[in-house]
Structure formats: C-alpha cells, structure tokens
C-alpha cells in the first residue's frame, strides 16, 4: 500500500456550519489514519478566541444552520463544537493560525485557545502540506 496523502484544510469562513463541517472532515481523515493540518485564517480565527463562540454574530442563514446543528447536538447525533475540536486535536491534527489574519483582526496569540499549535504564513503552510490533499473552506 502506498503512503496515504495527508489532508490540509484551510478554514477561512467564519460560518458555524462550515467550520463544524471542516472539523468533521478532519475527523474522518484522522479515522482513516491520515495526517491532518488545519490552517485557520480570517473569520475562522474568531472561533479560536478563548470563550469566543457565544459572542459571534451570525447572519440569518448562518443562524439557521447553527440552530439545526445544535438541535442535533442536543439529540446526541453530533459532537458538541468543543468536543469536536478536542477530538480532532486528540487524534493528532495540527492547528495553525494565519499570522497576517491575526494582525488584520488585531488578535494576539494569548487570546487564542490552547489547541493552536503555532502561527505561520500561507507559504509555510503550503510547504508543510506540499504532498497533501488541500481543501479551502
């Protein structure tokens, strides 16, 4: 069997459902035994702020998506957002944050959750994932 390609995911969107699904894709790849590296940029960074999730304002469509996902979380069909994040981390994914997005949004490293491994530029991320499958969300 040839070596499996890793999965690199650039999560750019701040939409709850997109981030949730990006992390679900990461989880499936980890279950397949693949290496996973996630690069959080722009609006996705807001979700990595400590205690951020409650204060994010959502447009009507995103609010509806969030409601549907959360209803299914309550029913036990899906993992809670924070459980999903820690499961993905526990199974070995790397979390990187975009250095320039941090500057743009005026976010300091110590404002981000401990799951973040390091901050880097896009060039570094691309070199770290040169032979990976890449997704932009």
């Amino acid at each position: 069997m040839s070596a499996k390609p890793g999965l690199g995911i650039i999560i750019h969107s701040g939409s709850y459902d997109r981030i949730y699904h990006g992390l679900s894709l990461a989880l499936a790849a980890l279950a397949l035994g693949r290496e996973v590296k996630i690069f959080f940029s722009y609006w996705a960074l807001e979700y990595l702020r400590k205690k951020a999730q409650a204060d994010i304002s959502l447009d009507k469509e995103a609010a509806m998506h969030k409601e549907i996902i959360e209803r299914n979380i309550e029913r036990g069909h899906l993992l809670k957002f924070n459980e999903l994040t820690s499961q993905v981390k526990n199974m070995g994914a790397k979390f990187y944050v975009c250095t320039s997005s941090m500057g743009l949004l005026n976010i300091a490293r110590d404002e981000l959750v401990q799951e973040v491994d390091k901050s880097m530029g896009i060039t570094t991320f691309l070199t770290e994932t040169a032979d990976f499958q890449l997704l932009f969300i």
Binding site: M1, L27, A28, L30, A31, L32, H77, Q87, M91
Partner: protein, 88 residues
C-alpha cells in the same frame, strides 16, 4: 467474551461499539478509537443506524487494511458489522 456466528463460524467478539444515533463520521471514528485498544486479530462489533456506514465501513476497512467480516441490517433497522483488526 461474547460470541457471534458469521458464515457458519463462531467468532469471539472482543468489544462492541454502540454508535446508534450517531451521524457520519462518528461511527467510523468510534470504531477506530476502539480498535486501538484491542489486540491484533481480535474482532470488534459495530452497531450503527446511520446508513452512511454501508459505504463508509468497507471504504474505511479498505484504506486502513482491516477486514470487514460482515455487515447486516437487523429487524430494528440497526446495522451490525464485524471487523477483524488485521493492521496495527
């Protein structure tokens, strides 16, 4: 250890993963995590009701090198699968 019959053979089941009610990709994720705890060549049982497992489970076994022994749906609509850990 629980026993089950597959294709006329009695098999010992080392562990059962109950993923009933869980949506994709959680059944496969739970299976993978449980598989890490059992010994090579042991058999694990997976219970799930997400129809995604019908395709996901053979695909997962194919890529990870584990053996899918059986995958059936019972009268209650629950999928019951048996997987042998053939890869460490």
């Amino acid at each position: 250890m629980k026993e089950t019959e597959i294709n006329g053979q009695n098999l010992k089941v080392a562990s059962t993963v109950d993923a009933v009610g869980l949506f994709c990709p959680l059944p496969v994720v739970k299976l993978k995590l449980e598989l890490e705890k059992i010994s090579l060549n042991d058999v694990i049982e997976l219970l799930a009701d997400d129809p995604g497992v019908l395709d996901d489970l053979p695909a997962w076994c194919g890529e990870t090198g584990n053996k899918l022994l059986s995958l059936v749906k019972n009268k209650e609509g629950i999928f019951i699968a048996h997987v042998r850990k053939t890869k460490d």
